[in-house]
């Protein structure tokens, strides 16, 4: 079956360093990808998205990279702050019809002060 997975379940990063969270996807038909941040006790919050016609997209302190050749997605957080501590998960979506979204299981980012 198709899946969206994360390589590292937990990532510990020193405050001020850059963080990289990875995601593998298997559905070659997926053409839209989203990163969500979920803080403890809260619902997922949209961070950034990217379409398959792009390989990089930047937001405020965050960058998403898409490598369609190896079906890999990453989220880079610059100058990681304690407030970035959360679970991050990716989601993939294939256009057409209902556009079923498949969510990854998440990576927990721990920022060390």
């Amino acid at each position: 079956g198709e899946s969206v997975g994360l390589h590292l379940p937990t990532l510990s990063v020193q405050e001020g360093d850059n963080s990289i969270i990875n995601c593998a996807y298997s559905n070659s038909a997926s053409d839209y990808f989203i990163w969500y941040k979920q803080e403890s006790g809260k619902g997922p919050q949209f961070i950034i998205d990217i379409r398959s016609n792009m390989d990089k997209r930047q937001g405020q302190r965050v960058t998403v990279l898409l490598n369609k050749t190896v079906k890999h997605l990453s989220l880079q957080i610059a100058a990681t702050q304690p407030g970035d501590s959360a679970v991050y998960f990716c989601a993939e979506l294939a256009s057409g019809g209902y556009q079923k979204v498949t969510f990854g299981t998440g990576t927990k980012l721990q920022v060390i002060p």
Binding site: G43, F46, Q99
Partner: protein, 113 residues
């Protein structure tokens, strides 16, 4: 900003009880979704609704039903709660199928004893 609210943050129910989870969004979104989130399993789609009075089964609809009588409100119903329905329940909405990003509510953590 999109606001999705859920009627309860925490619920404790007994096996066999009928449980109602309410979700309201204030942005006139056509599509609404109910997910459950369990450790290691990610988000799993229970039901979704394209529009008022329309509903479609997701990946794990067994033991659940839904109601969408008004555009802004999407209810999840556990007809006879069971312990394996103990979970975090997340509601989401999005504008149309062409608008891919889903916006999530804060979640309802349900414990069935």
């Amino acid at each position: 900003d999109v606001k999705v609210t859920q009627s309860s943050r925490y619920l404790v129910k007994r096996t066999g009880e009928k449980v109602f989870l309410e979700c309201v969004q204030d942005m006139d979104h056509e599509n609404m979704f109910w997910y459950r989130q369990d450790p290691g399993l990610g988000l799993r789609l229970i039901y979704f609704s394209y529009d008022v009075k329309m509903k479609e089964k997701g990946d794990i609809p067994e033991g659940y039903s839904v109601s969408r009588e008004k555009k802004e409100r999407f209810s999840l119903i556990l007809e006879s709660a069971s312990t394996n329905q103990t979970s975090m329940y997340l509601c989401a909405s999005r504008r149309t199928p062409a608008s891919e990003t889903q916006y999530f509510g804060p979640g309802t953590r349900l414990l069935v004893l």
